[in-house]
Amino acid sequence: MIDVSAMTVARAGAAFRAGHFSPRDLAETYLKRVNELDGVLNSYITVTSDAAMSLAERATEELARGVDRGPLHGIPVAYKDLFDTAGVRTTAASRIYAHRVPDRDADVVRALSNAGVVPLGKLNMLEFAYGVVHPDYGPARNPWNLERSSGGSSSGSAVAVAAGLCLAALGSDTGGSIRMPAAWCGVVGFKPTYDLVSRAGVVPLSWSLDHVGPLTRTAHDAALMLEAMIPRPDGTNARGRGFRAAALDAVEVPRLRIGVPRQLLDAGVDQAVRRLIEDALSDLAECGTAIEDVSLGDLDDILAAELTILFAEASAFHIPWLRERAEDYAQLTRERLEAGVAVPAVHYINALRAREAIVGVFREVFRNVDLVALPGAPTTAMGLDEKYLSINGDPVDIFRGLIRITGPFNLTGTPAVSVPCGCAADGLPVGLQLAGRWYEDHVVLAAARAFEERRAAPLRLPALDGHLRR
């Protein structure tokens, strides 16, 4: 078996082409790890071993005869279980969709297939990405401490990448659902600019806040994934916007200016996390970047607009099942959906009016700085059974406490990454969040990569040997 403790997409691709091992060998290794470890981690809902080995064989044979589809060719990946996959059950971790088998792939799944990836299966998540574990599926456990939450809603995606059960995963992010689990599980989670990646064939939570993005072990791997996720042959999306991983190399990171919203960092973030973010900002300053304070405007307005839009749009999508199968939802999912039905149209429209003003504030912010820095989550991973976040000893509503940190970049559609920046005293990972201007995804990822290089922290896997099923 191959040692995958320090494996990345880039390293695997280089090893394929140097003949050190093949896509078939790598798929076997990862499937063995899934078989041994996922009984306890619960990161997969469906494992597609036979299809994966068939595609791995094909990638091996293609590379051997010089057919090279690029950096993702032969790479073992997995998809959050709300990406439609033709012929493979797509549950959204719900009872409502428990037996749903799409007849076509989501656009982004098709794009990755064309890039030659080897999908290992479909990943656990919070029910319909709405913040709640459905009892039929159970939680994906945090591999750094099995009694802690892995966050969500892309919980299985973060766990599988962190634990070495795939090399890269797809997630979706409506209020922080890629970045927050990435922060809690110690991996890179990237939410691209709104609309850069197609959402066709992705089960929606809130159309105007949903983003599709990758979870990986490095920022460079996230860039490789993102380039392959944009399906058109010329590398652009339907709006003519594109992304090239090579663009990261042209970014002069020491010339960047980073803004820190102190009002949010000081009040909405636990001290243990804040300390590591301050250390990370010091390291970025030593790279030559300028660090300065910024204001994102009224944070209560941002949260209010995000939640009003989210609740109303989610209920609009779910209303047919809410009428006919309300008892099939997890209790809190149902309650959120029922509450969303009661959001007056007046409030929804006014939230959209407020959104326009908030976008204006962000345009001003990004005239003065290139990036905004915050944590990927305000605390380290909470206990599996805890009902509230604990921020500096105060109990805070989980949904609001998390979305306050990450949601501003969903409301404005700006690109944002969470990159690991160390572990707190409880041994759990913390993520540094960097957000940038619309369509400057390459700047965000270049800064994250420069931070990784500055830290030079070796990649490692959580110690799970005691849980191996042999």
Binding site: Y194, D195, S208, R239, V251, E252, R255, L256, D298, D300, D301, L303, A304, A305, L307, T308, F311, I319, L322, R323, A326, Q331, R334, E335, R336, E338, A339, G340, V341, A342, V343, P344, V346, H347, I349, N350, A351, L352, R353, A354, R355, E356, A357, V359, F362, R363, F366, R367, D370, T412, G413, R437, W438, Y439, E440, V443
Partner: protein
């Protein structure tokens, strides 16, 4: 929002709820109502709704 109104809104949407459901949902609705009222009071009179997020557009590049 009074309980009567909440029940009426849900019933008009075809959603059957018990008294216990209503008690739990009321808390969430109350929080959302506070959000909505606050936003409504603060939106500038001439503000337009952002109906298509594609209108976001890029800020002028400076890097």
């Amino acid at each position: 929002m009074t309980r009567q109104v909440l029940v009426a809104v849900l019933a008009a949407s075809g959603i059957r709820v018990t008294d216990a459901d209503i008690v739990r949902v009321e808390v969430l609705v109350a929080a959302l109502r506070v959000d909505g009222e606050r936003l409504t009071a603060r939106v500038a009179p001439d503000a337009q709704p952002l109906l298509q997020i594609g209108q976001l557009g890029p800020a002028e590049p400076t890097s």
